[in-house]
C-alpha cells in the first residue's frame, strides 16, 4: 500500500533535483564543509532551478507546487547525506512565516527574492538564556515614533552568516503576559544596529553557518512587523507542525541513507564472502533497523498526507519528531558498529558525517523532551481515546 501517491511529474522533479545535487552540489561538499559556508551563488543556483520554496504561489514568483515538492527536496538532500545543505530551514520553516502572515507589500518585496535565492532567510527565536522556553525571552521591541527599536541577542541562528532577512521574535516590555507580549518582525540583515556574531564550531552540519545575532538599538520601520502585534507566540506555534514534520521527514530520509549504504556494503561483502558480512548478529541488526525505519516512514508519510489535507496533527507530529530523530541517531550509530573499525573512518565511510549531522536533530525544532512534554500534556488532559 502506497501512502503517498507521487505522480510522474513529481518523480521527474525528484530526478532532476537528484541530478542537480550530484553535479552541482556534491563535488563541492568537502570544500564547503571546510569553509563552513555554502556560497551565496549556490543558493541562487538552487533558486534558479526551482529548488527553493517550491510551494510559494506564482503571484510572488514561486511555482505554486504542492507540499510533496518540499518533501522530495528534503528527502533527496538527506539521501545524499548532506544535511548541512540546510535549505529547508529557509524554504519550509522561515519563508512560510512570510507566505502566511506577511502583508501584500511585504510578500511582494521579499518572496520573489526568497524563491530566487537572492534573499536567504533565518529565524531568530532562541536566546542565550531561553532555549526551549520561549516565554522567558528578553529581547525587546519598542515602538518609538514611526520606528521599532530592537535590543537583545539571539543565538543558534542557522543560516546566520548568509542570511539577508531575519524573522525576529521580540517582546513588548510593557506587556507582562508572555503569550501576548511577543511580536514577529522582518529585519533585513544590513540594518544598522544588527551585528552578526562569530560563527559557532559544531559537531556536524559543517557547511551550515550558525551564529549569534546582536541587536543594539536596531531601528526598523513600523511596517516591518510581521502579523498582528502581540501575536508572535501564536504565530510561532502555528508553524510548528510543519517545522517538526519536515524535521521528521529529514530524519527518516537520513536513516534511510545510512541503512541503504550499510545494506549495500553488506550485500557486496556477502558476495565477496567477507567474514564481516557472515555475522548473524549483524544481519539481525540490519533486519531490526530496516523494520524500525519502515514503521517510522509509514507513520511520517501518513502525516504528510494529513498535513497536506490541512488536518491538525500537531500531536502526531510531535511524536514523529522525537521518535524519528532518536531513530536517526540510533541507526547511524548502530550501522557504524556493524562496520567496525572502518565505520569510524571519514574517507571510507559516509556514516561518520551522518553520525555527526543527525546528533542535532533531537535538539532543534523543539528538543525531544519538549515534544514529550507536549504529548504527555495533551494525552493526560484530554478525555479523548487515543
Amino acid at each position: 500500500m502506497e501512502i503517498i501517491n507521487y505522480t510522474d511529474v513529481h518523480h521527474e522533479y525528484r530526478h532532476r533535483f537528484r541530478s542537480f545535487l550530484e553535479t552541482e552540489i556534491l563535488p563541492h561538499k568537502k570544500e564547503w564543509d571546510n569553509a563552513q559556508l555554502i556560497p551565496k551563488k549556490i543558493w541562487k543556483k538552487l533558486g534558479k532551478n526551482g529548488f527553493l520554496c517550491p510551494t510559494v504561489e506564482t503571484a510572488y514568483g514561486g511555482a505554486g507546487n504542492d507540499f510533496l515538492y518540499s518533501v522530495m527536496i528534503i528527502e533527496e538532500i538527506a539521501r545524499v547525506n548532506y544535511l548541512g545543505l540546510f535549505a529547508y530551514l529557509h524554504s519550509e520553516v522561515v519563508v512560510p512565516y512570510i507566505s502566511a502572515y506577511a502583508t501584500e507589500a511585504q510578500k511582494h518585496s521579499y518572496l520573489p527574492g526568497c524563491v530566487a535565492g537572492d534573499i536567504i532567510t533565518a529565524v531568530a527565536m532562541t536566546e542565550p538564556d531561553a532555549g526551549s522556553d520561549l516565554a522567558s525571552m528578553v529581547t525587546t521591541a519598542v515602538e518609538q515614533d514611526d520606528h521599532i527599536i530592537i535590543n537583545g541577542s539571539k543565538t543558534f541562528i542557522s543560516n546566520g552568516v548568509n542570511c539577508d532577512l531575519i524573522v525576529v521574535a521580540a517582546r513588548d516590555p510593557q506587556e507582562k503576559n508572555p503569550h501576548k507580549a511577543i511580536s514577529l518582525f522582518l529585519v533585513e540583515a544590513d540594518t544598522p544596529g544588527l551585528k552578526k556574531g562569530v560563527q559557532f564550531e559544531k559537531m556536524g552540519m559543517h557547511s551550515q553557518d550558525t551564529t549569534e545575532l546582536f541587536f543594539n538599538n536596531c531601528k526598523i520601520p513600523l511596517s516591518s512587523r510581521l502579523g498582528p502585534k502581540g501575536a508572535g507566540f501564536k504565530l510561532l506555534m502555528n508553524k510548528l507542525q510543519q517545522e517538526r514534520l519536515v524535521c521528521a521527514v529529514s530524519a527518516v530520509a537520513c536513516s534511510e541513507f545510512c541503512l541503504e549504504w550499510t545494506v549495500n556494503y553488506f550485500r557486496q561483502a556477502l558476495a565477496d564472502k567477507s567474514p564481516l558480512a557472515m555475522s548473524q548478529a549483524s544481519q539481525f541488526a540490519l533486519a531490526e533497523m530496516v523494520t524500525e525505519l519502515k514503521m517510522k516512514k509509514a507513520f511520517v508519510n501518513g502525516l504528510v498526507v494529513s498535513h497536506m489535507a490541512g488536518e491538525n496533527v500537531i500531536l502526531e507530529t510531535s511524536m514523529a519528531k522525537f521518535s524519528t530523530t532518536d531513530s536517526a541517531k540510533r541507526i547511524a550509530s548502530r550501522c557504524m558498529n556493524l562496520l567496525e573499525e572502518m565505520g569510524g573512518v571519514e574517507d571510507v565511510c559516509p556514516l561518520v558525517d551522518a553520525f555527526n549531522d543527525v546528533r542535532v536533530l533531537s535538539i532543534y525544532a523543539g528538543t525531544n523532551e519538549i515534544m514529550k512534554q507536549i504529548i504527555a500534556k495533551e494525552l493526560l488532559s484530554s478525555p479523548k481515546p487515543f
Partner: protein
C-alpha cells in the same frame, strides 16, 4: 570490594592536579581539529611519571600495576577525552614487547618509548577481515636467520609515527597447529614498511590510524616475541590489558561528559526553575551515574585481579570494555541532550567526548570481538551436534 590504597589515592590526586594545570581546552580543540599529537604534554607526563606506570622500572617504567594505570587514564580522559586517549594509546601494544619480548629487544626499544621518543603500534587487524584471524593473510617466513613478512594490516593506531610495530603473522611452518601465528616486532625503519594514513576519524583524532603494508619486510630472527606458534595466545593475553585500558578511557570519558552535564543543569534555568529540579533531568542523571559507577567498578575490579596475577580474565576484561564503551557512548549522548544546543557546539567539549567514546568502541577492538570472547568462556564446550 574495590578500594583504593593510600598511594593509589595519591596518584589519582597528582594526576588530577596535572591535568588541571596542563590540559587546555582551547588548545585541545585546535589540535583535535588539526589532527596533531600533544607531544609536549606527552613528554611532561612521561617525565612526571604519569605514563607507563605499569612497566618495569628497569625500562624506566613506574613499576606499578594496571590499577594505577587505570586511575591515571581515567583522570586524563575525564579532563580531556581526545588528549587523554592520545596519551594512553601512545605506547599501544608495547605490552606485547614487555611481556613476551627478549631482553635485548626490550632494552633496545622500551627506554626510548618510555621517554616519549618513539610510539608503538599494533598490527592485528586486516582490511575487510577485522579480527577474524582464521582468514588472515599476512605471513612471516623464516629465511636465512631472518623473518620475511608480507601482507597488509588495518586499523593500526599510531602507525604514522610509530617507532616499531607489533605484527601478527601467519607462520607457514605452524599451519597445522591450533595457533599458526607469530608475533613479530618490526622496526618502523625497516625496508618495505609503508603506512597509509586513514585520515580523519569519528574520534581519536590526535593519533594517526593507518593501513600498513609489509612488502618483503625482513627483520632479524630475534624480533620474534616469544616462540613461534604462540601469536594468538600472546595476542589474547595482550588484549586483556588492552581491554582494561580502553575501559578506563571510556569510564573517564563518561565521567567527563557527566561532569559537564551536571554543571550545566545546576546552572541553567528553563520555565522558571533549574534544569536539575526537573524529575526527568534527575532521572537521567541517576541513570548516567549508575552506569558509570558500574562500569568503573568492573574496570577496576578486573585491573586489580590482573595485578594480582589472575590469568582467567579474558572474558571479564571484555565485559568491562564492552560495557564501559556502551556506557560512555550513552552518557555522552545524553550529556549533549542535557546541554541542548550548547552540547552540539565544539566549545561545550561534550560533542568531542561523544565522538571519542564512539572511537573507543570502534577502533580498540570492536564489540563483536568482546562478545565472542565472553560467549566462548561462558558456554564452554558443546557436545558435537
Amino acid at each position: 570490594m574495590f578500594e583504593l590504597s593510600k598511594s593509589q589515592k595519591g596518584i589519582q590526586k597528582a594526576a588530577l592536579e596535572f591535568v588541571k594545570g596542563e590540559l587546555d581546552k582551547d588548545l585541545s580543540f585546535k589540535m583535535e581539529k588539526e589532527g596533531k599529537f600533544p607531544e609536549e604534554i606527552l613528554r611532561k607526563a612521561a617525565e612526571l611519571g604519569f605514563l607507563w606506570v605499569h612497566f618495569d622500572e628497569t625500562y624506566l617504567g613506574g613499576g606499578m600495576g594496571q590499577v594505577e594505570n587505570c586511575l591515571i587514564t581515567e583522570t586524563f580522559c575525564r579532563k580531556d577525552a581526545t588528549m587523554g586517549k592520545a596519551l594512553s594509546l601512545a605506547g599501544y601494544a608495547s605490552e606485547c614487547l614487555l611481556r613476551f619480548g627478549n631482553d635485548g629487544l626490550k632494552e633496545l626499544y622500551l627506554p626510548r618509548l618510555l621517554e616519549g621518543e618513539i610510539f608503538s603500534a599494533g598490527c592485528f587487524s586486516e582490511p575487510g577481515i577485522g579480527l577474524n584471524f582464521l582468514s588472515h593473510k599476512t605471513v612471516s617466513i623464516r629465511k636465512e636467520g631472518r623473518w620475511v613478512i608480507n601482507g597488509v594490516k588495518n586499523n593500526v593506531m599510531n602507525a604514522m609515527d610509530a617507532g616499531f610495530y607489533i605484527v601478527l603473522c601467519r607462520d607457514g611452518d605452524q599451519e597445522t597447529s591450533e595457533d599458526p601465528f607469530n608475533m613479530i616486532l618490526v622496526d618502523a625503519q625497516s625496508h618495505g614498511v609503508s603506512p597509509r594514513d586513514s585520515g580523519r576519524k569519528i574520534g581519536n583524532n590526535m593519533i594517526s590510524t593507518a593501513q600498513v603494508a609489509f612488502n618483503n619486510v625482513s627483520v632479524p630472527e630475534t624480533c620474534l616475541l616469544g616462540k613461534p606458534g604462540k601469536g594468538l595466545e600472546q595476542l589474547r593475553l595482550f588484549f586483556i590489558e588492552s581491554h582494561i585500558a580502553s575501559a578506563a578511557q571510556a569510564v573517564g570519558i563518561a565521567q567527563g561528559a557527566f561532569d559537564r552535564a551536571l554543571d550545566h543543569v545546576k546552572q541553567r534555568e528553563q520555565f522558571g526553575k533549574k534544569l536539575a529540579r526537573f524529575q526527568v533531568t534527575r532521572n537521567k542523571l541517576a541513570d548516567m551515574a549508575t552506569r558509570i559507577e558500574m562500569s568503573r567498578l568492573m574496570t577496576y575490579t578486573v585491573a586489580a585481579r590482573f595485578d594480582k596475577g589472575d590469568k582467567k580474565l579474558a572474558h571479564i576484561a571484555a565485559m568491562a570494555k564492552m560495557n564501559a564503551c556502551e556506557t560512555a557512548t550513552a552518557v555522552c549522548d545524553e550529556a549533549i541532550q542535557l546541554l541542548g544546543g550548547y552540547g552540539y557546539m565544539g566549545e561545550s567539549e561534550v560533542e568531542r567526548f561523544y565522538r571519542d567514546a564512539k572511537a573507543t568502541a570502534l577502533f580498540e577492538l570492536p564489540e563483536s570481538y568482546q562478545k565472542e570472547i565472553i560467549a566462548s568462556e561462558i558456554i564452554g564446550k558443546i557436545r558435537a551436534n
